[in-house]
């Protein structure tokens, strides 16, 4: 195989400069100087590589395959002491060498440049090129996909289009995980990518061997034994193509039918009345208020939840002209905040802080001075502040900066600097001089920041296993008078910010959660003076599964309150109607529908607070029946198309029966797969029975008559030796 590899390399090495140029240009473009300070290297690099590397691999596959699939070149190359597999593997090996060099050299150059500069003017480190490299490795799957596509006997509808779809779909998944997955997902993707490449190469090799002899329908349409790789791949390809087409159609229809301006939607939810701390079920909606230039909440109606057996009227006038606090979420801490690339978060200028901070996934906050130029000036660890240039001290557990922003959004929106939270406790950064103080030392499983009444600072609720601890954030005077509610309009940010307060935390009370269901997932929480209110029913009533809440007091038994809603007063939007989208959903292969249903059911069984798919089926009769009518029409059409495609490709009765059985699961993908997998057979009228008979069979499939040799013309000169 060595001379074949040498030949392929010599023949195609001229494309390497193009690959190098494109990759180098991308590595240049992702430089933060050109992308802006909000760009993170790994994200920018993966974004760019997601475009260029599949194209490079695809183009290389096309040029490597094209010439040697022509008659003369193919005969010259294949007619020697080598096998078709040798030829294919030589192409793959040399193609991979050319491709990987053109990708690795610019990436290595970028990594070296980043290492040389360090993080002095932007959070960057050489390891950020690894996700892009792993993506580039996976993107080589487009090379064997291109050789599959270049099959000379293929039809554009069949083997040309479909081989690209599974490879592209897999790359989309890689992109989703590598874009901000950091080193962990890069490692996992690397292993999965190797498996994917091996699978793709095995498929393309099988196809290449067939191409070398261009088999007729009789050879390849008979049995899939020992050649299941390519048919399976084509089946996946047709399912992916069909599903993608349906998804695009749904997106198009939804876009056409959706309003382009904001339409206020009423929502019914639990809320605490200001002043009385009573729990209400209120209906409210966000309306645009032109007098303040912002959105404001408007209560449409509701009733007090007393626990009585009567059904609540969610539109009762009782709730009007009253003020309410809505439930907040108790959420899990995140390992990385969402504005990250898995290595750093975007440098962020928090209100009241003089520096831009970025979280380094290794567990540190990196502080950057903005003026006169961007410069790394400090490193903050969980146990203290360190000078720039080193990552020292005890690292944070999880993204303290991003979690702090997420939890204390109420404070941040009002212009206060927000504390930091990681899995070990809560910290505040003092300014001038910069210092870090740990104000709560507690293992944290979940956390929330809830409103505590008009004019009061929001309270911090921390969940440690099944215990909820409420903390009050106080200033040097021991009170939370520091908190000022500011006008919620678009001009808020211009008001003076009291950023010189030094916050600390005081434990107010600790309560125990009612059951284990609250220790996993999110739940709603609200503050009242005498109790903490928790409920799984914090979403709107449309999808609520449990209409109840709990009052948790420090030294009193748990009080459970259940309620029922008068369905006649429901304001939930009417989803149950005929839509084109539902019709289109019926075109999705039934196997995928069943899988989705099974997953939803499994989720419901393991967590009964999740929506019950069976109940949803009953709840939306029009949507469900529209879906089923569409599904039945598509299935009937698919049956007809399968019969027709199977006849035109000469499939046996057994094969046709198998494909018919697959129709409920594959839908239109079944006839598409037949077209992609099998070759067309041709028929001529049988001289004996006049029925159209296959030209690739020796006997007529209708009457058993063998082909008759052509009649002598009386001029044949054939001697004995012949």
């Amino acid at each position: 195989m060595k001379p074949l590899i040498w030949k392929e390399f010599r023949e195609n090495v001229r494309w390497m400069p193009i690959g190098l140029l494109v990759s180098a240009a991308v590595c240049w473009m992702v430089h933060p100087r050109y992308q802006g300070n909000n760009s993170l290297l790994a994200i920018a690099l993966v974004n760019q590589f997601a475009i260029i590397t599949p194209l490079l691999a695809f183009a290389l596959g096309v040029v490597q395959a094209y010439r040697d699939l022509q008659n003369a070149a193919g005969a010259y190359l294949n007619h020697r002491g080598v096998t078709a597999s040798d030829v294919f593997l030589a192409k793959t090996i040399s193609g991979f060498a050319i491709y990987i060099v053109s990708v690795i050299v610019p990436l290595a150059g970028l990594a070296a440049w980043v290492a040389y500069h360090g993080m002095w003017w932007f959070p960057m480190r050489p390891a950020q090129v690894i996700p892009a490299f792993v993506f580039a490795l996976a993107a080589f799957a487009m090379h064997p996909a291109a050789t599959l596509m270049m099959s000379r006997s293929a039809s554009w509808w069949g083997t040309r289009l479909f081989p690209l779809a599974p490879a592209a779909a897999m790359l989309a998944v890689f992109y989703a995980y590598l874009r901000d997955g950091g080193l962990l997902w890069a490692g996992i993707s690397f292993l999965v990518g190797l498996l994917m490449l091996a699978w793709m190469i095995a498929i393309a090799r099988q196809s290449w061997r067939q191409l070398a002899s261009d088999p007729p329908a009789a050879t390849v349409n008979a049995s899939l034994r020992r050649r299941w790789l390519l048919p399976t791949y084509m089946l996946v390809g047709s399912v992916v193509c069909l599903t993608t087409a349906v998804m695009f159609a749904i997106a198009f229809v939804e876009d056409l039918s959706r309003s382009k301006v904001y339409v206020p939607t009423p929502t019914s939810t639990l809320a605490i009345e200001e002043g009385t701390d009573k729990v209400w079920l209120v209906t409210h909606q966000q309306d645009y208020d032109s007098s303040i230039g912002n959105y404001s909440d408007k209560v449409l109606g509701g009733e007090i939840v007393t626990g009585a057996a009567t059904e609540l009227n969610v539109m009762a006038n009782d709730a009007k002209n009253r003020k309410f606090r809505y439930l907040n979420y108790v959420t899990q801490l995140r390992s990385m905040y969402y504005n990250s690339d898995g290595f750093f978060t975007q440098p962020n200028a928090s209100q009241g802080r003089s520096l831009n901070y970025a979280y380094d996934a290794r567990g540190y906050l990196i502080g950057y001075e903005q003026y006169p130029q961007l410069r790394w000036v400090t490193t903050i660890a969980a146990d203290g502040v360190h000078p720039a240039g080193v990552l020292a001290g005890k690292p944070f557990k999880l993204d303290a900066l991003g979690n702090g922003y997420q939890i204390f959004m109420t404070l941040a929106n009002f212009g206060f600097p927000h504390p930091l939270i990681d899995a070990d406790g809560v910290y505040v950064i003092d300014q001038d001089p910069i210092a870090i103080r740990k104000i709560i030392d507690l293992p944290i499983d979940g956390v929330s920041n809830v409103e505590a009444g008009e004019g009061l600072a929001p309270r911090l609720i921390i969940r440690s296993e099944n215990q909820l601890s409420e903390f009050q954030l106080v200033d040097e005077t021991g009170t939370d008078d520091w908190f000022e509610t500011q006008r919620s309009n678009s001009m808020t940010r211009t008001q003076k910010i009291p950023n010189n307060i030094k916050l600390s935390a005081e434990l107010v009370r600790t309560v125990t959660l009612p059951d284990a269901g609250f220790t996993k997932g999110a739940f709603g929480i609200a503050w009242t003076a005498d109790a903490i209110v928790v409920s799984k029913n914090w979403i709107d009533q449309q999808s609520s599964q449990s209409n109840d809440f709990y009052r948790l007091k420090a030294d009193a038994p748990i009080e459970k309150v259940t309620f029922a809603i008068d369905p006649g007063t429901s304001v939930a939007p009417d989803f149950d109607k005929f839509t084109l989208t539902t019709m289109l959903v019926g075109m999705i292969p039934g196997g995928l529908d069943l899988t989705g249903f099974a997953i939803a059911l499994a989720i419901y069984i393991t967590d009964p607070s999740q929506p019950n798919p069976v109940v949803d089926f009953i709840r939306y009769p029009i949507m469900v029946s529209t879906f089923f009518v569409s599904f039945i029409i598509i299935t009937a059409l698919s049956f007809w198309l399968v019969r027709r495609a199977a006849y035109r490709r000469g499939l046996s009765r057994q094969q046709t029966r198998c494909w018919n059985w697959s129709v409920p699961f594959l839908g239109l993908a079944a006839p598409l797969s037949i077209i992609a997998i099998y070759r067309l057979v041709h028929r001529e009228p049988c001289p004996a029975c006049t029925a159209p008979r296959r030209v690739d069979l020796h006997e007529c499939e209708h009457c058993g008559e063998p082909w008759q040799p052509p009649a002598d013309q009386g001029i044949e000169i054939i001697d004995q030796a012949a």
Binding site: R80, G81, V695, H698, I717, I718, A721
Partner: protein, 312 residues
């Protein structure tokens, strides 16, 4: 038993009802054909007659739609690299990698064939006057043919399958090509299948002729046998003589102004009577190899003048 000595008496090439369709069209239909070992067979036919398709099926690059073909005793669909090394094959147009130098072509071929005769390569290259340091893209068509043929012969094959090797060659290169083929065939029990449009060349080097018309083999015999079994008459008449009188064994009837050349295969007494019954002056004429072949080839195509567009 080694691969090389398998079935020594069997024909080098044998097909049985070999058929190939492209779409709905049968390009080769029920082809029964054999090439005895040690013979040089000229495969003739018009463009589109199915010669190249038949050769591609023989070489295993195309599977038959139905029927079978064997080459050196092996099913063409499953040729091993070892069997391929026993078969020399040059394709139409003498494909070579244009970026290679002649020496690199030689090295590439040597490394991918089990046996290699370097002296044979040098000799063949010299015959075509080729500089081995030259790039293939710098070579003339004739020189490329020389390199291609040299690479094929240096592998020391038992069977040589040449697909239109003289296409576009100058007379000197053609002569060199023919000499090379003759020398090759004289060097032992070696077989040559030569597909060509150049009847002179075939007549010069081949001892058997195979003639394909519309995917069918109409002639497969020795050159002498073929010549002896075809006869022709000139008939003086203005009208097409065969329009009114069917002639047994008629191959072709061609207008020569106000005369007609009637060519017949295996003429019998019945044929002679029919021709003499055409009226006018009837005169038997000698038939050259070229005339005989052209008569067969003209059957599938009405001869038109490219100048006037009229049927001749």
């Amino acid at each position: 038993m080694s691969d090389k000595v398998a079935m020594p008496d069997a024909p080098a090439i044998r097909t049985h009802r070999l058929t190939r369709y492209f779409g709905r069209r049968a390009v080769v239909r029920d082809l029964d054909f054999a090439v005895p070992r040690g013979s040089v067979v000229g495969l003739l036919g018009l463009n589109g007659a199915g010669k190249t398709t038949a050769i591609r099926m023989l070489m295993g690059f195309l599977e038959p739609t139905r029927g079978t073909c064997e080459i050196l005793g092996h099913d063409s669909r499953h040729l091993t690299p070892q069997t391929r090394c026993r078969i020399g094959h040059t394709v139409e147009g003498h494909f070579l990698y244009p970026w290679m130098r002649v020496r690199e072509c030689e090295r590439f071929s040597r490394q991918t064939h089990s046996s290699w005769d370097g002296a044979m390569f040098e000799q063949s290259v010299r015959r075509f006057g080729i500089d081995t340091a030259a790039k293939v893209s710098w070579l003339s068509r004739g020189q490329r043919a020389g390199v291609s043929l040299a690479s094929t012969l240096a592998a020391n094959p038992e069977l040589l399958v040449l697909d239109d090797p003289a296409l576009g060659l100058d007379p000197v290169s053609r002569r060199a090509l023919n000499e090379t083929i003759v020398e090759f065939s004289e060097g032992g029990d070696r077989t040559v299948l030569l597909s060509s449009h150049l009847l002179e060349d075939v007549e010069r080097v081949a001892d058997r002729v195979a003639l394909m018309v519309d995917g069918r083999m109409l002639v497969d015999s020795t050159l002498d046998d073929f010549r002896s079994r075809v006869a022709a008459w000139v008939v003086n008449t203005d009208d097409d003589p065969i329009a009114r009188h069917p002639i047994p064994g008629l191959v072709h009837c061609r207008s020569l102004g106000n005369r007609w050349l009637v060519t017949v295969a295996d003429p019998t007494d019945l044929s002679r009577e029919a021709i003499e019954g055409l009226g006018g002056g009837v005169q038997q004429v000698d038939v050259s190899f070229e005339d005989a072949v052209l008569a067969y080839l003209s059957r599938s195509r009405v001869d038109h003048s490219f100048f006037t567009g009229a049927a001749s």
